[in-house]
């Protein structure tokens, strides 16, 4: 990747999966946030929710600037998924491994982003998993296989900077691999 590149990646996923937390954990500055009071405690019990976007930034050692966009989670804000997905070089889909709706959420978001960003790498990060319990990861892999969608599935604690950095780095590595593949095909 050439120095001084600017890349855009998108964090998406359902309400409470940890998009805002993840971006806050790795951003070089306090992210731009659009949090407001949450009036839908039944869907996810927490004080606030993102209604437009999160915007953070991560500078890499080679000078590359990675812009980190977070979407709102609820489908009434799906118009923002489309807007934010445009121009993204990769998508990180965060899921709540303790939610009974995890697989349904995976299907919904993977479908939307496969349409909005069809050529871009997708990575699935599952939070709230217990160590040594691979069932949420297996379930997600099964859904992706059924959808004919290839994406790595990793367990991630969005509150930990190192975890989030790792998934961002994996996504960038996937992008480089794709670029190399395309270059190889051309020659």
């Amino acid at each position: 990747m050439s120095a001084a590149d600017e890349l855009k990646i998108v964090f998406t996923g359902p309400m409470g999966a940890g998009k805002t937390t993840a971006i806050t954990a790795v951003s070089d500055f306090a992210p731009v946030r659009t949090e407001v009071g949450n009036n839908d405690q039944e869907s996810f019990a927490k004080a606030s929710t993102t209604v437009a976007l999160d915007l953070g930034q991560l500078g890499l050692d080679d000078g590359t600037i990675v812009r980190l966009y977070g979407t709102p989670g609820q489908d009434r804000f799906s118009f923002m998924w489309e807007i934010l997905g445009r121009g993204a070089i990769g998508v990180i889909l965060l899921l709540d491994g303790s939610s009974p709706d995890m697989c349904a959420h995976l299907r919904t978001y993977a479908e939307v982003f496969r349409r909005v960003a069809p050529e871009q790498p997708l990575l699935v990060g599952i939070g709230r998993t217990s160590p040594h319990d691979d069932r949420p990861l297996d379930a997600c892999n099964a859904v992706l296989a059924e959808m004919g969608c290839s994406a790595p599935v990793l367990s991630v604690d969005v509150r930990r900077r190192d975890d989030v950095l790792l998934i961002v780095e994996i996504l960038l590595a996937m992008l480089e691999a794709r670029i190399a593949e395309v270059a190889h095909d051309v020659h």
Partner: protein, 136 residues
């Protein structure tokens, strides 16, 4: 819409009455929606339009974005957002001091003079603020 049950029935009724009076007094107004900060319709007039839920969600996103942009630009507080289209305009105005936080989205057609529309919409916001902050 079922989301209305989130909000106090009296508040919804009073707000709907204000929105109705406003829409009738400003004949180019096609839709007025009071929306919670997190994008739920609190009240609207005319009610039951297919686009209302979307206008409510988009209005709250735009309001939050205007506030975020105002903060970045060092303006202390975003008052209104004005979108001028070829065939009409959309205003989004934040109300102060209400709980839950709400904003008003107004969709007006054609030649409604923007200044007049803004003035009338601000007055409506003041009325709604007074209504919504009244102790029950």
């Amino acid at each position: 819409m079922s989301t209305r049950r989130r909000f106090d029935a009296t508040v919804v009724r009073l707000a709907t009455e204000r929105l109705q009076a406003f829409t009738q007094a400003n004949t180019n107004v096609q839709l007025a929606v009071l929306t919670s900060g997190d994008g739920f319709e609190v009240a609207s007039y005319p009610s039951g339009r297919p686009s209302t839920a979307k206008v409510a969600a988009m209005g709250s996103s735009m309001q939050a974005l205007s506030e975020a942009l105002s903060r970045e630009a060092g303006l202390s507080h975003a008052r209104n957002l004005i979108i001028e289209g070829d065939s009409g305009s959309v205003l989004v105005l934040g109300l102060s001091g209400t709980s839950p936080q709400v904003s008003l989205a107004v969709v007006a057609a054609g030649s409604e003079l923007l200044g007049r529309l803004l003035w009338a919409s601000r007055n409506l916001c003041k009325e709604l603020e007074a209504e919504l902050t009244k102790t029950p």
